[in-house]
C-alpha cells in the first residue's frame, strides 16, 4: 500500500501509457512528464507568490493581500488575469526580436533544469549520466537571457541591471559549481539519481545526508549563498534594486512578458532549492528512518517549500549588499572557502573511516573560516571606491 502511494505517479503514468501502442509509449510518456512539470511548477509559483507576500507582510507587520478570496489566497489568479489582459508595451527604440526572445529563453532554460532533478523515487525525467553538468549548462545559459533583456530594451537602468545581474551570476556560478563538485567528488557520480541514492542510508535512524558532514555543511552554506545570488534574491537583489535602478533588467517589460520573467525567477528559485536539497539534504529521502512510510515526493516538495520559506524569510530580514561588497564577498570569501572545502573533502575521502577525519576536516574548515572570514574581512580599506571603465 505504502509502496503504491509512493509510486502513485509512476503507476499512473504506466497505466495511462498502457492504452497506447508500443511505438508511441516512449514519446508520449516523455511528453506526459514534461507537461506535468510545466503544469506543476507554475502552480507552485502561484502558491508561493501569495505565501511570500503574506509572509513578508507578516515580517514587516502588515496585512498583505487579503481582498481576493478568503485571506486573499486567490490573489495569484487576479495577478495572472491582470498581467494577461494588460497591454504589452515595447519601447520604440527597443530591439524588438531580442526584447521578445529574452523572457522566452529565460523560462525555457529554467524549466530545462528540472529534466534531471529526481522529484521522488523513480520520478526523474531523464536520468542523465552527466546530469549535474547539464543542470549547470542550462543555468549558465540563463545569464544570456538576462543580458538580452537588459540590452534589448534601450534603457540605461535595464542595461545597468543586466550588467550587474550577469556579473553577479557569473561570479556566483563559480561558487555554486565548486560547492557542488564536493558532492561529485565524494559520490563519484554526476547523476543526481545516484547522488540521492548515496544519501539513502540510515545509521541509528539518522540519514546519511551530506549536510551532516563537515564538508557537506560548509558546502551547503556556500551553495545556499551562491544560490541566493544566482537567483538574484535579496540580499543579493541588486540587479532589481528598485531604489537605484527602477526594476533592473525588466524595467521595460510589462504584461505577460513581465509575468514570464516573474515566473522564470521563481521557477529558478524552485530548481535551485530542488538541486540544493538533492545534493545536500538527501533529495526525496526521509529525514528519519521511521518516517520512510511517507511518500518520497512529499519529502522532496516539503524540502522545496522549506527552502522557499527560507528565501522569503531572508528577503524579509536582510538588507541589500553594495555592488563592491557583493563582488568582494564572492571572490575573496566564498570562492576560497569553496576551494578549501574541496581540499577538505579530498582529505575526508583519503583518510578513510574513523573519528579522526571528522576532527581534521572540521578543524580545517573552521580554521579557514576564521582566517578568511574573520581575519581577512576585518580590515576593510574604506574610502571612495575606484570605478573602472574601458576608456
Amino acid at each position: 500500500m505504502i509502496e503504491r502511494l509512493d509510486q502513485i505517479f509512476v503507476i499512473l503514468k504506466h497505466w495511462l501509457l498502457g492504452y497506447l501502442p508500443e511505438s508511441w509509449q516512449t514519446p508520449v510518456g516523455v511528453i506526459l512528464s514534461v507537461v506535468c512539470i510545466i503544469g506543476l511548477y507554475p502552480a507552485l509559483f502561484a502558491i508561493t507568490t501569495v505565501l511570500e507576500r503574506k509572509g513578508v507582510a507578516r515580517i514587516q507587520n502588515r496585512l498583505g493581500p487579503n481582498r481576493v478570496g478568503p485571506y486573499g489566497i486567490l490573489q495569484p489568479m487576479a495577478d495572472g488575469i491582470k498581467s494577461l489582459t494588460k497591454e504589452d508595451i515595447v519601447p520604440t527604440t527597443a530591439d524588438g526580436v531580442v526584447h521578445f526572445l529574452a523572457p522566452v529563453v529565460l523560462v525555457v532554460v529554467v524549466f530545462m533544469g528540472f529534466a534531471v532533478l529526481p522529484m521522488g523515487r523513480n520520478m526523474v525525467l531523464v536520468d542523465m549520466d552527466a546530469g549535474l553538468l547539464f543542470y549547470f549548462a542550462m543555468g549558465a545559459s540563463a545569464e544570456l537571457s538576462v543580458f538580452m533583456a537588459g540590452w534589448s530594451s534601450r534603457n540605461k537602468y535595464s542595461l545597468l541591471g543586466a550588467m550587474r545581474a550577469v556579473a553577479q551570476m557569473i561570479s556566483y556560478e563559480i561558487a555554486l559549481l565548486l560547492s557542488s563538485v564536493v558532492i561529485v567528488m565524494i559520490t563519484g557520480s554526476l547523476s543526481l539519481v545516484k547522488i540521492v541514492e548515496a544519501q539513502n542510508h540510515y545509521t541509528w535512524g539518522l540519514p546519511h545526508w551530506f549536510i551532516f558532514t563537515p564538508w557537506g555543511l560548509a558546502g551547503f552554506l556556500m551553495y545556499a549563498i551562491a544560490g541566493t545570488a544566482e537567483t538574484n534574491r535579496s540580499p543579493f537583489d541588486l540587479p532589481e534594486g528598485e531604489s537605484e535602478l527602477v526594476a533592473g533588467y525588466h524595467t521595460e517589460y510589462s504584461g505577460f512578458k513581465f509575468a514570464l520573467f516573474f515566473l522564470g525567477e521563481y521557477v529558478a528559485m524552485f530548481s535551485i532549492s530542488g538541486l540544493g536539497s538533492t545534493l545536500f539534504l538527501g533529495g526525496w529521502t526521509a529525514p528519519l528512518e521511521v518516517l520512510q512510510f511517507i511518500p518520497s515526493w512529499i519529502w522532496f516538495f516539503g524540502k522545496l517549500f522549506l527552502s522557499m520559506g527560507v528565501f522569503i524569510w531572508m528577503r524579509g530580514t536582510l538588507p541589500r549588499l553594495r555592488q563592491d561588497q557583493l563582488m568582494n564577498f564572492a571572490w575573496k570569501f566564498v570562492l576560497p572557502m569553496c576551494l578549501l572545502n574541496l581540499f577538505a573533502a579530498g582529505l575526508w575521502h583519503f583518510m578513510g573511516a574513523g573519528w579522526l577525519r571528522w576532527v581534521v576536516c572540521s578543524a580545517i574548515l573552521i580554521l579557514a573560516y576564521v582566517s578568511i572570514g574573520r581575519e581577512g574581512m576585518r580590515r576593510k580599506n574604506l574610502g571612495p571606491r575606484s570605478y573602472r571603465y574601458a576608456e
Binding site: H201, A353, G354
Partner: protein, 694 residues
C-alpha cells in the same frame, strides 16, 4: 558513506599506529601557520604552538597506552607503517614509522617536557619582539624531534635529524644581533655537520649492505636478524664486523649531536641561545637524540656480542661507545668545576651526563642508557629552566659570582632548583638521578672488559656533586652581589618548574632494582617486584658508594664555598687551593684552542695558499691573454676602419632601398597577414593532398 556516519570515535590498535605520523606532522604544520602569522599575533602564535604540541602529547600518550596494554598482555608491541617514497627502477626508497616501547617512551617524554618548556617560554620570551618567530622555530623543532623519534627508516630519521640540527642552529642564533650568538650557531652547525658526514656514510653503507633503509620491516628490516646475520659474515681487522663499523659511523653522528668527545665543543657555546632553547634542545631532547639513535640501532652495535662471551657480552663498537662516554663524562665534569657562567656549568654537566648515558648504553644496554636519558631530561630541563628563572630574576645576569643570596628572593625557584641539583648529584633513594646513575655504575662495575670506566664514572659523579653544590651555594646562599633587586619569576614560569621537580623526584620509582619496570618494559619481559633485590650485597655496596660519592662531593664543595659570599674579583676558592689545575679547567682543557691551532689553522693556511695561487698563477695567465687580445684588437680596428666599413656602408644602402620595397607588404594590418596566412595554408594543403594522392 556507511562508515562516514560513525558518530562514536573509537580508538583501535591499528588506527593509533596508523595516525602516529600526526605526532610530528601537527607541530610542523602549526609552525608553518605561525610562520605566516603577522608579528603582533603573539597570543595566536604561542597558542598554536602549545596547542599543537598538546595534541601531539595526547596522541603520544594514547600510543604509549596502546603499547603498555600490549605489553601487559605479554607480547612485544612493534607496529610499523612503511610506505615507498621514491621508486627508482627496482630500488625503492622506503620511509615509515614505528611504534614500540622505545619510541613510545621517548615520544611521551619529548612531548611532555616540550610542552612544559613551551608554556615556560611564553613567560620567558614575553618581551622579545620576535616572539612569533621563536614559537615558529620551537614548533618546528618539536615536530622534527618527534620525527626522529618515530621514524622507522634511517633515511627519514636522518632528514628529521638534519631538520633538528637546522632548528638548533636557528634557535642558538635566535638573537643573531649578538655576534657571539651568531658565531655559536655557526660553530654548532659546522661541528655537528662533521659528525653527520660519518652518519651519512654509515647510512649509505648500511643501505649498500642490507638493501633496505627500514629498521623493522616484518623480518626484512636492517635491524632484524636476517640482515644482521648478513652484516656479521665477514669480520674485518681487530674484530670489527660490518655491523660494528656501520654502528661506529652512526655513533660518530650521534657523538656530534650529543656532544661527545671530541665534538662536544659546540654545546657550551650553544648556551648563547635563549634559555628555554637550552633547556629543550641542548639539555632534554636534541642532545639526547644521539643517545636515542644509538639505542635505536643498538642491535646493530651489539650484533655478534656473544662472540666475545662474558656476562653482558660486548663488541668493539660498544667498547668504543663506552670509552668515549666515560671519557666525556669525566672530562666535562672536570671542566664544569671551573666555570662561572651558570648556563655554561649546566651545559658541561649536560655533556658529562650524556657521557654517562653513552657509557650506560655501552655497558648496560638500551634500558640503562635510556633510563638515565629520561630522568636526566626531566631534571636537566628543570635545572635549565631554573637557571633561566634565576637569570630572569637577576636581570639577565649570568655570572654566578654576581649573584648569591637569592634563596629568600625566589623561594620557588630555589626549592625546585635544589631538587634538580640533588637529582643530578644522585642523592640516594628520593631522587630519580640516583636510580638511573646507579644502574649505569652497577653495569659499569660488572663490565667484563675493564674497570677503568667504572672508576672514571665514579670520579665524575663526585665532581658532579661538587660543582652542582658550588653553583648552588654561589647562586642562592651568601649575600646578593648582583645589581638591582632579585625578584621571583611569574607563575607561568614557576609552574612548569614545580611539575618538573615532582617528576625529577618521582620518576626514580620506575627504575629501582627492586621493580625494574622500565628495563623490563623496554626489553619486553614482565616486571615483577622483588624486594630482596634491595638486600643484595652488591646493591647495598653500590648504595654505600654513591652515598659516599655524594657526601664527599657535596661536603667538599660546601666546605669550600658554602654560604660565604666571595666577591667577583677575588679568585675562586678552588683556584686558591690548586691554581695550575684550575686554570686548565677554566680554559676548558684547551680543546677549543687545540682545534684552533690544528684544524682551523690548517684551513686558514690552505686558504692562504689557494689565494696565492689564484693571485699569481691564474692572474698571470689571464693578464697574458688580455694583452694578446688587446694587440689583436688594434689590428682589427685598423682593418675595420679602412676596408670593411666602406663596403658595409654600400651594402647597407642597397639593403635599405630593398627594404623600402618590401615594407609595402608589411602594412601593419593584422587582417592582411591573416589572409596571407590562410592563402599559404590553402596552397600547402593543396600540394600535400595532391602529392599524397594515390
Amino acid at each position: 558513506m556507511q562508515e562516514a556516519m560513525a558518530f562514536t570515535p573509537q580508538l583501535d590498535a591499528s588506527s593509533i599506529a596508523q595516525w602516529l605520523w600526526l605526532i610530528p606532522a601537527v607541530p610542523i604544520v602549526s609552525s608553518g601557520i605561525i610562520a605566516l602569522l603577522k608579528q603582533p599575533r603573539r597570543k595566536m602564535a604561542s597558542g598554536l604552538a602549545i596547542g599543537s604540541l598538546g595534541f601531539s602529547l595526547i596522541v603520544a600518550i594514547a600510543a604509549f597506552a596502546h603499547v603498555l596494554s600490549g605489553w601487559s598482555h605479554g607480547f612485544a608491541v612493534r607496529e610499523v607503517v612503511n610506505f615507498s617514497w621514491i621508486q627508482v627502477g627496482a630500488q625503492s626508497v622506503e620511509l615509515g614509522w614505528v611504534l614500540d616501547p622505545l619510541s613510545a617512551v621517548m615520544m611521551v617524554m619529548v612531548c611532555f617536557v616540550g610542552l612544559l618548556i613551551f608554556i615556560y617560554s611564553t613567560g620567558y620570551m614575553e618581551h622579545d619582539e620576535n616572539y612569533t618567530r621563536f614559537f615558529c622555530f620551537l614548533a618546528l623543532f618539536a615536530g622534527a624531534m618527534l620525527g626522529v623519534v618515530i621514524s622507522n627508516s634511517i633515511l627519514l630519521l636522518f632528514m628529521c635529524w638534519e631538520l633538528v640540527g637546522l632548528t638548533s642552529y636557528l634557535l642558538i642564533g635566535f638573537w643573531y644581533q649578538k655576534p657571539a650568538a651568531a658565531a655559536a650557531a655557526k660553530k654548532a652547525f659546522v661541528t655537528t655537520r662533521v659528525g653527520d658526514i660519518f652518519f651519512l656514510l654509515g647510512i649509505v653503507w648500511l643501505f649498500a649492505q642490507t638493501g633496505t633503509l627500514l629498521f623493522y620491516d616484518h623480518g626484512a628490516g636492517s635491524l632484524e636478524s636476517l640482515a644482521l646475520g648478513g652484516l656479521l659474515v665477514h669480520q674485518s681487522h681487530w674484530g670489527l664486523t660490518a655491523a660494528g663499523a656501520i654502528g661506529l659511523l652512526i655513533f660518530a653522528g650521534a657523538a656530534g649531536k650529543s656532544g661527545q668527545l671530541p665534538l662536544h665543543v659546540w654545546l657550551p657555546d650553544a648556551m648563547e641561545g635563549p634559555t628555554p632553547v637550552s633547556a629543550l634542545i641542548h639539555a632534554a631532547t636534541m642532545v639526547a637524540a644521539g643517545v636515542y639513535l644509538i639505542a635505536r640501532v643498538y642491535s646493530l652495535m651489539s650484533a655478534g656480542a656473544v662472540a666475545h662471551g662474558g656476562a653482558a657480552g660486548t663488541t668493539t663498537a660498544l667498547m668504543v661507545v663506552t670509552w668515549v662516554g666515560a671519557a666525556t663524562a669525566l672530562f666535562a665534569a672536570l671542566v664544569a668545576v671551573a666555570q662561572n657562567d651558570i648556563k655554561r656549568i649546566l651545559a658541561y654537566s649536560t655533556v658529562s651526563q650524556l657521557g654517562y648515558m653513552m657509557a650506560g648504553l655501552g655497558v648496560g644496554g638500551v634500558a640503562v642508557g635510556m633510563f638515565h636519558l629520561i630522568t636526566h631530561a626531566f631534571f636537566k630541563a628543570l635545572l635549565f629552566m631554573g637557571a633561566g628563572s634565576v637569570i630572569h630574576g637577576a636581570h639577565e645576569e649570568q655570572d654566578i659570582r654576581k649573584m648569591g643570596g637569592m634563596k629568600p628572593a625566589m623561594p620557588w625557584t630555589f626549592a625546585t632548583y635544589a631538587v634538580g641539583m640533588l637529582a643530578l648529584c644522585g642523592v640516594p633513594i628520593f631522587f630519580s638521578g640516583f636510580w638511573s646513575k646507579d644502574a649505569i655504575l652497577e653495569s659499569a662495575h660488572q663490565w667484563p672488559v675493564a674497570q677503568a670506566p667504572y672508576y672514571m664514572l665514579i670520579f665524575g659523579a663526585v665532581l658532579t656533586a661538587f660543582y652542582m653544590t658550588r653553583q648552588l651555594s654561589y647562586v642562592f646562599f651568601g649575600a646578593y652581589r648582583g645589581h638591582g633587586q632579585a625578584h621571583e619569576s611569574p607563575r607561568v614560569m614557576t609552574g612548569p618548574l614545580v611539575i618538573l621537580a615532582f617528576f625529577a623526584m618521582a620518576l626514580g620509582v620506575i627504575g629501582t632494582p627492586a621493580w625494574p619496570w622500565f628495563r623490563s618494559f623496554l626489553e619486553n619481559h614482565a616486571a615483577e617486584v622483588e624486594m630482596h633485590a634491595f638486600a643484595e650485597s652488591a646493591w647495598l655496596m653500590l648504595l654505600l658508594t654513591s652515598c659516599v660519592i655524594v657526601a664527599v662531593g657535596i661536603g667538599l664543595a660546601w666546605w669550600l664555598y658554602g654560604d660565604k659570599s666571595p666577591r667577583a674579583e677575588e679568585p675562586d676558592a678552588l683556584e686558591k687551593a690548586i691554581p695550575p689545575v684550575w686554570t686548565v679547567f677554566a680554559n676548558r682543557i684547551y680543546v677549543d684552542e687545540l682545534y684552533g691551532v690544528t684544524v682551523i689553522a690548517f684551513y686558514y693556511w690552505w686558504a692562504k695558499v689557494a689565494d696565492w695561487i689564484d693571485r699569481n698563477i691564474w692572474g698571470g695567465i689571464v693578464a697574458g691573454i688580455t694583452l694578446l687580445f688587446k694587440v689583436w684588437a688594434q689590428v682589427n680596428r685598423f682593418l675595420d676602419t679602412n676596408m670593411v666599413d666602406g663596403g658595409f656602408d654600400k651594402g647597407c644602402e642597397e639593403l635599405y632601398n630593398g627594404g623600402g620595397i618590401l615594407a609595402r607588404i608589411q602594412n601593419g594590418r593584422g587582417q592582411i597577414y591573416l589572409r596571407l596566412l590562410a592563402v599559404a595554408v590553402v596552397v600547402l594543403a593543396a600540394i600535400l593532398i595532391w602529392s599524397g594522392r594515390p
